[in-house]
């Protein structure tokens, strides 16, 4: 960053192509900063709103009042009310909190597990690797969502099914990513050096390999968060995820769909929140990938 700013000042003196290239790099970097800022602002604002839901929310998320059903957005009900007369703004706040917590869990628990499995497979190779890669291939051969739905169908609908389903399947991508990086990393001289220094495999992997593998996993996880947000909303929309009456964005979209022509807000507004939240995560992910990508991986 500092170097670029310095180089930018120098660029005044440069001419032609070199200056153009530098200016272009600076513009890209500036846009990346803007994207990151906007992304953090969106996710941050929604997260704060969600976590202080009990303070901010004007009503009880589950208070049914059939005299107030399907009211359009107004000063009293900012986002209107749903077919049960519940305040949609209140429910949205609670739903954001629930979605964020669940999505973080179903993204980062598989990441940690997959990273450990992948690191072990890549480090030890041989039959450990052969077995792991076959298992991963078997999982990846099926569409992700179909597998998760299958697990949920077996365990019965509800959050428990979502957790177990995503944990069972989600680790495979991280494991494969980490294994590939580890195969490169284990030939790096500092890993060889760690081995010839007499360090145990546990120490080599945890202290020397994992800190150099975590970056690519973090970049990947930012894309994964968005997918998992949509997955959770999708499952709940299908009635397989979070169960009524608990407020969840996907389930709220489903609540309103038979009233779409009378009361568009019931479905649309929670849907917009999903889009905005997903876009926020994407922005953070993209600009982090730009930044970490330069130091990405292990070579050099």
């Amino acid at each position: 960053m500092r170097t670029l700013a310095w180089a930018g000042r120098r660029a005044v003196g440069l001419r032609g192509e070199a200056a153009d290239l530098l200016r272009q790099a600076q513009t890209e970097r500036r846009w990346s900063n803007v994207t990151l800022g906007v992304g953090i602002a969106i996710v941050g604002a929604l997260a704060v709103a969600g976590f202080f839901a009990s303070v901010i929310a004007p009503a009880d998320p589950n208070a049914v009042d059939l005299t107030q059903r399907l009211l359009s957005p107004s000063g009293k009900h900012w986002m209107g009310t749903d077919p049960f007369g519940r305040d949609i703004f209140t429910r949205t706040l609670y739903a954001i909190r629930l979605d964020l917590i669940v999505v973080l869990i179903i993204t980062y628990v598989p990441m940690v597990f997959g990273m450990i499995v992948g690191a072990l497979a890549g480090y030890f190779r041989g039959w450990v690797d052969a077995v792991t890669i076959r298992v991963i291939d078997a999982f990846i051969a099926f569409p992700f969502i179909v597998l998760v739905i299958a697990v949920v169908a077996i365990l019965g609908p509800g959050l428990q099914g979502v957790y177990i389903g995503v944990l069972a399947v989600g680790w495979t991508l991280y494991a494969r990513l980490t294994r590939g990086d580890m195969l490169v990393l284990r030939e790096q001289q500092f890993i060889l050096a760690a081995r010839t220094l007499g360090y145990s495999p546990r120490r080599v992997i945890l202290r020397h390999a994992i800190p150099n593998l975590i970056r690519s996993n973090l970049v990947f996880s930012m894309a994964d968060i968005v997918l998992n947000l949509l997955l959770l909303a999708g499952l709940s929309y299908l009635g397989l995820g979070v169960q009524a009456p608990t407020a969840e964005l996907g389930a709220m979209v489903a609540d309103g769909q038979s009233f779409l022509l009378q009361a568009w807000w019931v479905t649309t507004l929670p849907g917009v929140v999903i889009v905005v939240l997903g876009a926020g995560f994407s922005m953070i992910g993209d600009s982090l990938a730009d930044r970490l990508g330069q130091k990405f991986g292990v070579v050099g």
Partner: protein, 340 residues
């Protein structure tokens, strides 16, 4: 570094004995080869190397790329498991060492790697890397870190720095300090200066020479550059295609090279020892043959201007064991090595 007491080291008794070492790598076969039951091809990287290292001796190993120098080094520090032969370190069989025995072995024998830009963990400060190496091998406190930095000629304040804040030469010094943290008796330097600028090379070479003198370290110094080896080594072994073809005291080998390959290496290189001894020698041509397909008889014959019929059929041995200067050549176009 006063605690540096070689345990089994007595003059004249080798600390490291390598006997008939072979290491080959299997080449992957295509499915068609597997079905047709074609045998798996093997790259013979190290093909029958025997050598001895005395305590406080610096042995240089010289050879072209692909001669098996690095494979040999990695076998010595148990990164590779040899396919034939034995490596004996002060009575311990290196190839069979596991668990605590192996850990102790690594505490007595250390390796310096070629590329100082990748041989240090980028996520770890220099001090942390040195401290970790010492702690794993039972050193207490952390005052040894600063001392070691001084030994290798770095300021104590460098302990807090990350490798990326250091130059190539400084990184190589840091890597040496890390190796010294375990208080080894033998240091194996695998092309440890090849990646450095020439001016920096000299500094690092001086550091190696100084370490060997001050700490009584035995060293195996691997390089493709004869000048580098002549600078630090007491004894030198010339490797060609996985085999040692000439071995002896560094001055004897460089002043009166007896193997045509050694001669060609020296002629190809403006070396201080070889100057003045300039007879007419045909320069060798072509590349080192593929280790997949090692020539019959003498493995150097395909490039040797002096090759005769016997070279095609008989593999010359490096003999006999009791002479200081030994050559593996049938023809000896420059005469036999001097006795004594």
């Amino acid at each position: 570094m006063s605690a540096h007491a070689p345990t089994g080291a007595r003059d004249g008794v080798p600390i490291l004995v390598v006997a008939a070492l072979e290491k080959w790598f299997a080449v992957a076969r295509s499915p068609i080869d597997v079905i047709r039951r074609r045998p798996r091809e093997r790259v013979h990287a190290v093909d029958g190397v025997s050598l001895q290292l005395l305590p406080n001796e610096v042995l240089g190993i010289v050879g072209e790329s692909g001669s098996g120098k690095s494979t040999l080094a990695r076998c010595l520090v148990a990164l590779y498991r040899p396919d034939q032969g034995t490596i004996n370190f002060d009575g311990v069989d290196v190839t069979e060492a596991t668990g605590q025995v192996r850990r102790d072995l690594h505490g007595r024998m250390q390796m310096i790697y070629q590329d100082p830009f990748t041989s240090l963990n980028p996520q770890m400060s220099i001090g942390a890397a040195i401290e970790e190496a010492g702690k794993v091998h039972g050193r207490e406190g952390d005052d040894f870190v600063g001392d070691l930095l001084e030994v290798v000629g770095l300021p104590r304040s460098f302990a807090r720095r990350r490798p990326r804040a250091l130059s190539g030469g400084q990184r190589q010094r840091a890597a040496i300090a890390r190796a010294l943290a375990v208080q080894p008796e033998v240091l194996i330097a695998d092309e440890a200066v090849s990646a450095l600028d020439v001016s920096i090379q000299a500094q690092i070479l001086n550091l190696f020479a100084q370490l060997s003198d001050d700490l009584g370290l035995a060293m195996i110094f691997i390089a493709h550059d004869l000048a580098v080896v002549s600078h630090v080594a007491d004894r030198v072994a010339i490797m060609y295609l996985g085999r040692i073809v000439e071995e002896g005291p560094v001055e004897s080998v460089f002043r009166t090279p007896r193997h045509p390959y050694t001669r060609a290496l020296l002629d190809a290189h403006p070396d201080p020892y070889a100057l003045g001894a300039a007879e007419e020698t045909a320069a060798i041509s072509g590349d080192i043959p593929s280790p997949l397909d090692i020539p019959s008889g003498c493995r150097f014959r395909t490039r040797c201007p002096y090759a005769t019929d016997v070279c095609e059929t008989d593999d010359p041995a490096l003999a006999p064991d009791d002479r200081p200067h030994r050559v593996a050549c049938h023809v000896l176009p420059f005469g036999p090595p001097a006795e004594g």
